[in-house]
Symmetry: C5
Subunit: 90 residues, 5 copies
C-alpha cells in the first residue's frame, strides 16, 4: 500500500457500468513527511475520505477482494484514513 493525499475528484458521466455509484478521487502519493512524490492517480473511495486528508491506498487485485467488488473495473482504492505515522523508533 502507499501513503497518499486526496486532492480532488473526477467527474466522468460516460464510464464503465461497473463504476456507477463509485466516488473517484484524485490522489497523489506522498512520503512519510507528506511530500508529493508522484503525479496524480485516481482511486475509488472505500472509506468516506475527504479532500486534503492523508490516506492509505491499495492497488491491483487487492481492491476487488470483496464479493460486491469482484466485477468492478477498479485497480486503486482509498482503504484507510491515516491518523498518524510513527517513525520515531527507526
Amino acid at each position: 500500500m502507499i501513503l497518499a493525499k486526496v486532492i480532488g475528484n473526477v467527474v466522468a458521466t460516460r464510464k464503465d457500468e461497473s463504476l456507477e455509484g463509485t466516488k473517484l478521487m484524485i490522489v497523489r502519493r506522498v512520503d512519510a513527511e507528506g511530500n508529493y512524490i508522484e503525479p496524480e492517480r485516481v482511486a475509488v473511495d472505500y472509506v468516506g475520505c475527504g479532500i486534503g486528508e492523508f490516506v492509505l491506498c491499495a492497488t491491483g487485485s487487492s481492491t476487488r477482494v470483496e464479493e460486491n467488488k469482484r466485477n468492478k473495473t477498479i485497480d486503486m482504492a482509498v482503504i484507510g484514513i491515516i491518523d498518524s505515522i510513527d517513525t520515531s523508533g527507526a
Copy 2:
C-alpha cells in the same frame, strides 16, 4: 487508475485472436493539468472514446472482470471519459 489523453490508434492485422474486434487506442498518461508525464501505451477502448479526449484508464486484471472479457489478452483499457477534474479544495 490513471488520467490519460487519447492520441491515436494502432492497426495490427496479425494479433492474438482474443483481440479481434477491439479498438486499440494510443494513450499517454497526463497529470491533473493535462501535461504528458509518460510515454505512449496502448489501451482497449471500453467506452467509445475519441482522439484528443481526456480519459480514465485502468490497468491489469481489473480490465478483465466482465464475463465477456475474461479470456481477452488485455491489460489496459479506457474506462471513462473525463468531464472535469476538481482539485480546488486541496
Copy 3:
C-alpha cells in the same frame, strides 16, 4: 499494453518446464516514434513475430487467459504485429 521492437531472442536450455516449446524474444519498449525508452525485457511470442518488427506486448496475468497458457510461467507476451500507428488527429 506497450509498443515494443523485437531485437533478438534468448536461448535457455535449462528452464521452467512450462516454458518448453515457447519462443523467448528480447523486446525493447518504444514510444510512438519508435525510439527505445526502456531496457530489454523478454516476451513469449504468441503471433509469429520476427526480429526488427514493431509489436504490441501485453504483461501480467493477461498473458495467461487462454486455457492452454494458464499454467505457464509467462508474464509478458508479444500479442500483435503493428502495421501502423496513427496519431495525426491528436
Copy 4:
C-alpha cells in the same frame, strides 16, 4: 520480493474492514548494502517484525494466497526477517 527496512507504523482508525487486526508497517526498500532506494510504502506484518529490522517484502496477489487472507485488501506484506545477505561469490 524486495529488501526493505521497517521504519515505523501507521495508525488508521477508519479503514477497510478487512484490515482490522492487521499491523500496518512503514517500510522503505533498500539495496543489498542497506541503503534506502525508494520512498516509504505500507506493508502488513505477517511475521512479527520490529522497527529497524531488515525484512523481505512481497507484493501483489502473492500476499493473499493463504485461505484467511484471500479477502483482505492487502497488496504488500512483510514476509521474512533477514538474518544475513551473502553476495561474496558474485
Copy 5:
C-alpha cells in the same frame, strides 16, 4: 520476464511458512549486454541457478501457476538459465 544476474542469497530464519524449503536468491536486473540496471531484488530459485549466472526471472502471479506453488507467498522467481542472447539481427 526480465534478464538478471544472480549475485547472492538471503538467509531468513523467521519467514512466512509457505517459503520453507525455498532458496531465496539476490538478483539484479541486467540489460542484454549484462550491465546492471536496477537495484537488488529477491527471487525464489525454480531451476537450480548458481551465483554469477545470467538468468530469466518472472514476476507476479506467473510464479504461482504450478499446483504446488499456488499457496506460496512468491512474487518473483528464477525460471531459466540463459545460455545465450542473440541480438545480431536487429
